[in-house]
């Protein structure tokens, strides 16, 4: 699935839904710039439209295996081809009260490597609950909270500013061919 979004400020509760290892995650749609097929091997950064996005493989960040043996969940399993989701802090978005070190250093353009993109959806984010207190590790930086859905599943709300690695990429950005991606101008999930 390939997606672009052009309405960064009109979707306070719109989220891009994505899948990693069979778990459904949501990222505020105002952060999302576009999605691209993930090249192989993965570069350290992605250059798109003259802007460098630091690559973050969510499987690697979360300590998950490179591929999953778990049965795919409603389009949530890893497909034959992974995707890159380009995210960038929206200009009008309020910064965190206590910025993460990486975010404070200006790393807020990220190329998230994900298993699949599930679409755009309006979520009742106010119904989200914080992570239970037993989660005390780095995951508290990665996630805003979790949202129980009416059908019983749980969507995990990503905290984009907490996903940035502290170190800058050491290799030069790689231009990702965009021929496979649709032209900007509308969402095409």
């Amino acid at each position: 699935m390939v997606m672009t979004t052009t309405v960064p400020h009109q979707a306070a509760e719109r989220f891009a839904l994505l899948a990693v290892d069979g778990v459904e995650y949501a990222v505020d749609a105002t952060w999302v710039r576009r999605s691209l097929p993930a090249p192989s091997p993965l570069p350290a950064a992605v250059l798109h439209g003259g802007t460098a996005y630091q690559l973050v493989d969510l499987r690697q960040l979360f300590g998950l295996p490179a591929s999953s043996d778990a049965p795919p969940r409603a389009g949530g399993g890893p497909g034959p081809e992974r995707l890159i989701l380009l995210i960038d802090r929206p200009p009008a978005a309020p910064g965190p009260v206590a910025p993460e070190p990486a975010a404070a250093g200006g790393v807020h353009r990220l190329a998230l490597v994900i298993d699949d993109l599930l679409g755009l959806e309006t979520l009742a984010a106010r119904a989200a609950v914080p992570l239970p207190g037993v989660y005390r590790g780095p995951e508290r930086h990665w996630f805003h909270g979790v949202l129980p859905r009416p059908d019983g599943r749980i969507t995990v709300l990503l905290r984009p500013e907490g996903l940035a690695p502290a170190a800058a990429p050491s290799t030069a950005p790689e231009e990702v061919p965009t021929a496979a991606a649709p032209s900007p101008g509308g969402a095409a999930c």
């Binding site: 290892d21 069979g22 778990v23 979360f62 300590g63 998950l64 778990a70 609950v129 992570l131 239970p132 207190g133 037993v134 989660y135 005390r136 590790g137 780095p138 995951e139 990665w142 996630f143 979790v146 129980p148 019983g152 599943r153 749980i154 995990v156």
Partner: protein, 156 residues
Amino acid sequence: MLSRRDRGREGRQAPRPGLLAFVIGGRARALSLGLVAGVAEIGPVTRLPAADPSNLGLIVHRGAVLPLVDLGRRLERGTASADGAAGADGADGALAALGASPPLCIITRSRQAIAFPVEAVLGLQALPANGGAAASPWEILDPLIVDLDRDQDPAH
């Protein structure tokens, strides 16, 4: 109608259950009923990434999101040395190892409730008459649950 004295006698003859006994890690363990909110089947588990491998994921119980905690692994920590391979199985391995079908979990009654999977539920048991936990045939997990609850307190 029983008199108060009769009720007292009856109470002595049939002591009220004070523990819920269950099996974790092949051993009989128990929790005071005051710390038990219920027993439920484990439905879908959302495997939230976590640094602590005893955090198996999240479940929804009656609309509430609860962490599913592998108490067996937490109990092993006290007796086993650090072993990186211990966390390799993850939620799938931990749940697959359970004997109950469908897998069951016990939900705690605490400020921040947790659910923990068990291999079997042995039922309600009376509190040991004398000697308290030391005389119990079950390992009583109340201190572990209380510690877990305290650890979850943001002010802690």
